[in-house]
């Protein structure tokens, strides 16, 4: 089943008189259950592609489908609704709300989705266990290490059981052991829950976890193939980029 589909998408940013083409006619399909890395140097268009799949941004041309629905023409509130119900985000910086505890940060998407207190309690506790942070549930972000914060972010992204988790450089601000722990957590949750992960990175240590690696350069996909992770299946073999 297709979780996300990008059809001939371009994205151009205009800053003053200067136009920057971040993506140039990209096609990509993400199937349910994938653990896919978007790789490429800085400025290659990885983050832009994630933002478009994540309904945070809209394409200049082309179409973006999430769960079969065309999201390229949705208005602001419709995109917010789509994100709330379908997509979870993990960011490079430890994107937690500093005034909320780990528990409350994980609970926030459930609140936004109008879940009952009992449902919230059950889901948050499940997620705290899943990321091994039960003992830190009442700690605020400044009382957690970088790795712990990122695991809270993972739990928060997964708590609503979304169809798709998008992670932008999830280990960029972590040391090697913590980066490893975060990636192993993501792999485990992907295997346990079947949730689709797409993450942008240029860290070779992270890329090795991917079962599919999509490489971008200058706004086009230059390769799309199997990653190095053991037991993976090749999801797409042909490069899809269109210059």
């Amino acid at each position: 089943m297709e979780v996300a589909k990008i059809e001939n998408v371009s994205r151009t940013y205009k800053i003053g008189q200067l136009e920057t083409r971040a993506l140039r006619g990209v096609d990509l399909t993400i199937q349910s259950g994938e653990f896919t890395a978007l790789v490429g140097p800085s400025g290659s268009g990885k983050t832009t592609l994630l933002q478009l799949i994540g309904c945070l941004d809209q394409p200049t041309s082309g179409k973006v489908f999430v769960n079969g629905k065309d999201v390229s023409t949705l208005n602001r509130n419709q995109r917010a609704d789509m994100r709330r119900g379908t997509i979870g985000f993990i960011f490079q910086f430890f994107a937690l709300i500093p005034t909320l505890t780990a528990y409350e940060n994980i609970e926030m998407p459930l609140l936004l989705n109008g879940k009952t207190p009992a449902e919230r309690r059950q889901r948050v506790n499940q997620m705290l266990e899943a990321v091994d942070l039960v003992d830190h549930s009442h700690h605020r972000p400044d009382q957690l290490s970088g790795g712990q914060q990122q695991r809270v972010a993972i739990a928060r992204a997964l708590v609503t059981q979304p169809a798709l988790i998008l992670a932008d450089e999830p280990t960029a601000n972590l040391d090697t052991p913590n980066g490893k722990l975060v990636m192993e957590t993501m792999v485990r949750l992907n295997q346990d829950t079947g949730v689709t992960f797409v993450f942008a990175t240029h860290d070779p240590r992270v890329i090795q976890y991917a079962r599919r690696v999509v490489t971008l350069r200058d706004g086009v996909i230059v390769s799309d193939g199997a990653g190095e992770a053991p037991g993976m299946e090749l999801m797409a073999a042909e490069p899809k980029g269109v210059a």
Binding site: G54, L56, A80, R83
Partner: protein, 405 residues
């Protein structure tokens, strides 16, 4: 909702000093407005009470042709057989006191010093004279049959360096247009609380006043005090006659009524200025909060929080800030208003014709003023949050997420 309040509360706690000073700004503004409203209200009430008690009474019965500002002594402008009329009026249940009074203008002369005065002939036994009798600061009150004695106010005594027992010469306009001149003895001095009144008023027994002004058997007015101001209309209707007119305290104190109305408009302007300044502080605080939390707004937006909910977050913060500010305002304002109510402010001799002002101003805070101010401060605080809330709600998630990169 509880989560929203919890979040807002914690967000305000991030920069406690800034939050405290913002709430303090609102509190000080509110406290200041409570004090101003209470002082103006208190002054107007005191002034009205003083003017009614000393100058106009609740009602006056007088000849239709009588002009109060001219203190006319022509017989056709006066009330004939005033004692009988006063007794009749006093028999009405709502009437506390009814007494004839004669007004004339004159000049007090002591050596080379002179001072213009309003001479009032009173029935010394009347209950309506209580403010003067109770306000005696030296000497004795007048007796009805006293043909030589007068009372003067403390301010006039100080001005002319007089005391009880001293002699003065009084020049008085009479009914036939002449000026009569007679020596009098000061029996005592009084203080009513209005230095202006005390400096310009001289009392003598009604019979003596009638004699000296050639108006025997007449009075300028029947001065009526009621048990309750609200009975004015009923008593006015009961006293309607073809010969005389009944003038109410509202009609006699139009200047005060106008000042009262003007002060309401003036207060609105003051409200707007003070609360406008306060609103600026709140806007500044919340705009700073929006900029400091741009990335968090981006995160919440990425999680699917809609713009209206982001706005609600800032409105909740503003509401909490307003509640804190209002509580501070009520405490500070309460202390200031309590001081002004029980101790008052000394303003000295400050009054004009037609409006008596006491030498001390006492505040009087009405529930309506207090509630109006609290609600206005609250609404202004919420309005102040509108711009920052819109700013936050309209942020593009992508731009917000990458702020500070």
């Amino acid at each position: 909702m509880i989560q929203l309040i919890k979040m807002a509360f914690r967000d305000l706690g991030r920069n406690r000093r800034r939050t405290f000073f913002s709430a303090l700004a609102l509190g000080l503004g509110l406290a200041l407005l409570l004090l101003i409203a209470a002082v103006i209200q208190g002054e107007l009430r005191t002034s009205m009470d003083l003017t009614i008690k000393l100058q106009t009474g609740h009602l006056q019965v007088r000849a239709k042709t009588y002009e109060a500002d001219k203190s006319s002594l022509a017989w056709e402008d006066l009330v004939a057989e005033p004692e009988a009329a006063a007794a009749q009026i006093a028999a009405l249940a709502p009437v506390k006191a009814a007494t004839p009074r004669l007004f004339a203008s004159g000049i007090v002369a002591v050596g080379d010093e002179t001072a213009g005065v309003s001479i009032i002939g009173i029935d010394p036994a009347s209950e309506a004279n209580a403010p003067y009798r109770d306000g005696m600061v030296s000497g004795e009150f007048l007796a009805a049959d006293d043909r030589q004695g007068v009372l003067i106010g403390r301010s006039l005594a100080e001005l002319l360096n007089l005391k009880a027992g001293d002699q003065i010469v009084l020049l008085v306009n009479t009914a036939n247009g002449d000026v009569d001149e007679q020596p009098f003895t000061i029996r005592g001095t009084f203080a009513t609380g209005s230095p202006f009144y005390d400096q310009t008023t001289l009392f003598m027994p009604l019979t003596k006043a009638q004699t000296i002004t050639r108006t025997e058997g007449y009075a300028s007015t029947i001065f009526v005090l009621l048990n309750d101001r609200d009975q004015t209309e009923a008593v006015t209707s009961a006293l309607k006659s073809s010969q005389y007119e009944v003038v109410t305290w509202q009609e006699m104190n139009q200047l005060l009524t106008q000042i009262n109305q003007m002060s309401s408009g003036f207060m609105v302007v003051i409200y707007l200025i003070v609360l406008g300044i306060t609103a600026t502080v709140i806007v500044n605080t919340l705009v700073m909060a929006v900029f400091e939390r741009t990335r968090e707004i981006g995160i919440l937006s990425a999680m699917g929080m809609r713009g209206n909910r982001i706005m609600a977050m800032f409105f909740t913060e503003s509401t909490l800030l307003a509640v804190g500010g209002i509580l501070i305002g009520l405490v500070l304002g309460g202390i200031m208003v309590a001081y002004a109510t029980y101790v008052g402010f000394y303003v000295g001799n400050f009054g004009i014709e037609g409006m008596l002002i006491g030498e001390r101003i006492y505040a009087y805070l009405t529930l309506t003023d207090a509630v109006t101010l609290i609600i206005t401060a609250f609404i202004v605080s919420l309005l102040a949050a509108l711009y920052p809330a819109l700013l936050a709600a309209r942020m593009e998630p992508v731009a917000a997420l990458h702020s500070g990169d």
